[in-house]
């Protein structure tokens, strides 16, 4: 699926956190990866291996200790170039769903009225119709995740960084949202870097899957998925899918041994 030069390239990125008591925590070591235009790439790895840290670096929230992050859209490391969806939904509790969704336009100084109109027009496809004025605490967990995703999509960036967007949801809601995310992505023409613990989720959604090692995290496997699109649920039952899943699990388990 990846054609032409990548929209995102990390070369030799490391990140250490200073810890009290001298010894620093090495969260990431020498991570290199690429995401192509309109490519859907997943990042899987054990808990604490530095996946969220990596997204935070790409989003410009922190500086890498070492290495370079290149973003093709406007090539410097300042925040605001990529659309970042953090691990927690972080909907602001004092804002209605619509005001949360349009936070990006407000912060970026864009046309607020236009952003609101666009947000309203997207509510139905995000399954949030009729909830424009609802405060976050009145929404279900799945609705909150979709609202956070709507906020991310409305940033209208070429790169979406999604940090375990479906991590806290039940299996049924999760399956429904996965299908729905693929649909959205196909219309969006954006590249996605998707963090998850779930190897099946990663395979079913992605063009490529990166497997990380335990902390300090680095890339141990770059697995092209190559399953045809559009994908149906039935793909999960095929031998090709099973073989890919086995490779991912082997990589993850070999690392824990």
């Amino acid at each position: 699926m990846s054609v032409g030069p990548p929209v995102l390239r990390l070369s030799g990125v490391s990140k250490a956190y200073p810890a009290n008591g001298g010894q620093s925590v090495q969260a990431l070591r020498n991570v290199s990866l690429e995401v192509g235009r309109r490519e859907f790439v997943s990042l899987v790895g054990p808990s604490g291996c530095g996946k969220s840290t990596l997204l935070g670096l790409i989003a410009g929230l922190e500086e890498p200790t070492d290495g370079a992050i290149e973003i093709a859209t406007e090539a410097d490391g300042t925040p605001g170039q990529v659309a970042y969806m953090p691990q927690r939904d972080l909907l602001l509790p004092w804002r209605s769903l619509l005001d949360n969704a349009t936070l990006g336009a407000e912060v970026g100084g864009g046309d607020r009225a236009a952003a609101r109109t666009r947000a309203r027009s997207l509510l139905p496809s995000f399954g949030l119709e009729g909830f424009a004025d609802a405060l976050p605490h009145t929404l279900s967990g799945g609705m909150r995740q979709r609202a956070a995703l709507l906020r991310t999509v409305l940033l209208e960036r070429d790169i979406l960084l999604l940090d375990e967007p479906f991590g806290a949801l039940d299996a049924l809601t999760r399956a429904a949202l996965q299908e729905w995310l693929l649909e959205i992505w196909e219309r969006l023409e954006a590249a996605v870097l998707f963090v998850t613990h779930d190897v099946e989720e990663a395979l079913w959604l992605s063009d490529r899957v990166y497997v990380m090692t335990r902390r300090p995290g680095s890339i141990q496997l770059d697995l092209p998925v190559g399953l045809p699109r559009p994908r149906t649920r039935a793909v999960r039952g095929t031998p090709a899918f099973a073989a890919l899943k086995q490779r991912l699990l082997d990589a993850l388990l070999a690392d824990t041994a």
Partner: protein, 258 residues
């Protein structure tokens, strides 16, 4: 929910009724002289009779309390924002703010009278001083405790420091600010009254002082009752305004109570 609330305060009201009843009974049975301890009914009668004089004094005291409170609120906002935005200001002012709470502000009333005379100014100042600290401390704390992930979210969108402050920190601080404002509201009336004790031409403090020096004990009690009711009313007013401007705050606590 309303009946729920009535049910919650009913026991407290019951205790209050028993206490007032016992007071009435003791003063009557033991024939306590009125100048020493008037019975509740005598106090109520006195209250009704002195209402024409009480009203303007109450108005004056409320005016002092309101102006002082507003001044305290503005100053507290400025200081808390400064502490939040500048590391130097935080290191310079935070320890002072915390320790200053142990200074008995009301003891400054005579000094303020020496410096500013017996007009309305020293009363406003004492109210402002008394109200400033709880508001500033609670607001600064609320700003400091704003969710760092929410702040990071706004930064990831390219938000400036000012946007992080206005879109995340300030709204996050509202619950804490409101609790400081409630404490300050209860301080405001008594601060004005103490300011008036030192010397005034009008106000509940003056009216109370005159009544006590002529042994009109029932009138003293009536004024105390007015002060108490005003303090509670202002506290509730802040609470109501808070529920109106920040309805999301009360969701979690009310869920937790059921």
């Amino acid at each position: 929910m309303n009946t729920h609330r009535v049910a919650r305060i009913a026991p407290a009201l019951g205790v209050l009724a028993v206490l007032v009843g016992a007071w009435e009974l003791v003063t009557r049975l033991a024939a306590v002289p009125e100048w020493l301890l008037p019975s509740p009914t005598v106090i109520v009668v006195e209250f009704v009779e002195s209402l024409p004089q009480l009203a303007p004094h109450t108005g004056r005291t409320l005016l002092e309390a309101a102006i002082g409170y507003a001044a305290a609120l503005l100053l507290a906002f400025a200081v808390a924002a400064l502490i939040d935005q500048s590391g130097l200001a935080r290191r310079a002012l935070s320890p002072l703010l915390v320790t200053s709470q142990t200074i008995p502000i009301f003891a400054l009333a005579p000094l303020l009278a020496i410096w500013f005379g017996f007009g309305i100014t020293p009363k406003i100042l004492i109210v402002a001083l008394a109200c400033f600290f709880p508001i500033a401390v609670s607001l600064a704390g609320g700003l400091r405790n704003a969710d760092p992930d929410m702040q990071a979210l706004v930064r990831s969108m390219g938000g400036s420091r000012r946007q992080v402050f206005s879109k995340v920190k300030l709204p996050s601080a509202i619950p804490s600010l409101l609790s400081g404002m409630k404490i300050a509201a209860t301080y405001s009336v008594i601060a004005a009254v103490i300011g008036e004790w030192v010397g005034a031409s009008q106000g509940l403090g003056l009216y109370m002082l005159r009544a006590s020096s002529s042994f009109q004990t029932a009138r003293v009690f009536a004024v105390i009752a007015v002060i108490a009711v005003l303090s509670v009313a202002l506290f509730l007013a802040v609470d109501v305004v808070g529920r109106w401007i920040a309805p999301w705050i009360y969701v979690r606590t009310e869920e937790a109570q059921t």
